[in-house]
């Protein structure tokens, strides 16, 4: 147990620190890079917790997201943030978050403990997965066969996002002359 806890805690702490720096740095570019560090931290967590599929996907997705964000920030005029919220607002948000964290701290002790999952649904997939689906990577077996319908939904989300991007990047919303509807 202990041999996994040390790297796990240190990576989680690293992610937490990187996240705080990302939120608090005034320079937006550094902030985006720290965000990349948080994502790579998650990829490391995936590796430590025996999830190579996730680590691979997380790394490529993180690269893509960070490239997207850097593209967005670089070459635009204001690179630093100037305005911050007023103190009472910050105090209110802080107090609410503290309540949430304390509530979770107390109640999460009632969770099934870490490293001892119930594995009811997952156990059945592990046991019968290869004979029923023919795939030796059981994550793919779950993703594309047992829960393939979720994957269809996920592919649809990407389509919706891409169509949404195309819709939002039109130069005009309304036609310039509303009377003319020749090519709709």
């Amino acid at each position: 147990m202990a041999e996994v806890m040390v790297p796990l805690y240190s990576i989680l702490a690293f992610m937490l620190i990187a996240a705080i720096i990302a939120v608090e740095t005034r320079d937006l570019l550094s902030s985006v890079l720290c965000l990349g560090a948080v994502g790579f931290g998650l990829a490391l967590v995936d590796l430590v917790l025996k999830a190579p599929d996730l680590a691979l996907t997380q790394v490529v997705v993180e690269i893509f997201a960070v490239v997207l964000l850097i593209r967005m920030v670089v070459a635009r005029q204001d690179m630093t943030e100037e305005n911050v919220a007023d103190t009472p607002h910050v105090a209110l948000v802080g107090a609410m978050l503290l309540v949430i964290v304390i509530a979770c701290f107390i109640s999460f002790q009632a969770l099934v403990p870490f490293a001892r999952p119930l594995m009811r649904m997952g156990g059945a997939y592990l046991e019968h997965g290869q004979t029923l689906t023919g795939a030796s990577n059981l994550v793919t077996a779950v993703l594309l066969n047992f829960r393939g319908y979720d994957t269809l939904g996920e592919a649809t989300v990407i389509l919706a996002a891409v169509v949404g991007c195309y819709a939002l990047l039109r130069t005009r919303g309304l036609k310039s002359d509303a009377g003319n509807d020749a090519d709709s």
């Binding site: 994502g39 190579p52 948000v93 979770c104 829960r147």
Partner: protein, 125 residues
């Protein structure tokens, strides 16, 4: 039960709180996008923690059957594949949401010439 049983979960909730804090307090579009990404990362970390297990004997292995390790031995050491499949879905959904947010932020920048929300927001709240 030892503290190791739930402390990793609480660390994820702390990360979650950092994300919410960024969204609620910061007045910059880029910072808000960063907050949303941290939020998604924290939830994914929470889910991946749920699937891990320490077997009775030997080390945990990834849920991929190899010719070297299969049958009962595999069954007793493999981690739970379900949360991993869920996170794969959640990661990709998160990426689509981030792409959409970036597009909106770029559009807003084009309209106002700034990422600063105090200069953008004509609407209240």
């Amino acid at each position: 039960m030892t503290a190791h049983g739930f402390l990793p979960y609480v660390l994820c909730v702390l990360l979650f709180a950092v994300g919410i804090y960024a969204i609620a307090v910061k007045k910059n579009l880029v910072k808000i996008i960063i907050g949303v990404v941290i939020l998604e990362t924290s939830v994914n970390a929470f889910l991946v923690l749920l699937g891990y297990r320490v077997p009775e004997s030997g080390d945990a292995v990834a849920p991929i059957i190899t010719p070297a390790l299969n049958g009962q031995a595999f069954l007793q050491r493999s981690v739970d594949p379900v949360p991993q499949a869920l996170i794969l879905t959640a990661i990709v959904i998160g990426l689509s949401v981030v792409a959409l947010m970036v597009v909106m932020a770029v559009r807003l920048y084009e309209k106002y010439g700034t990422f600063d929300l105090t200069k953008i927001r004509k609407l209240r709240g």
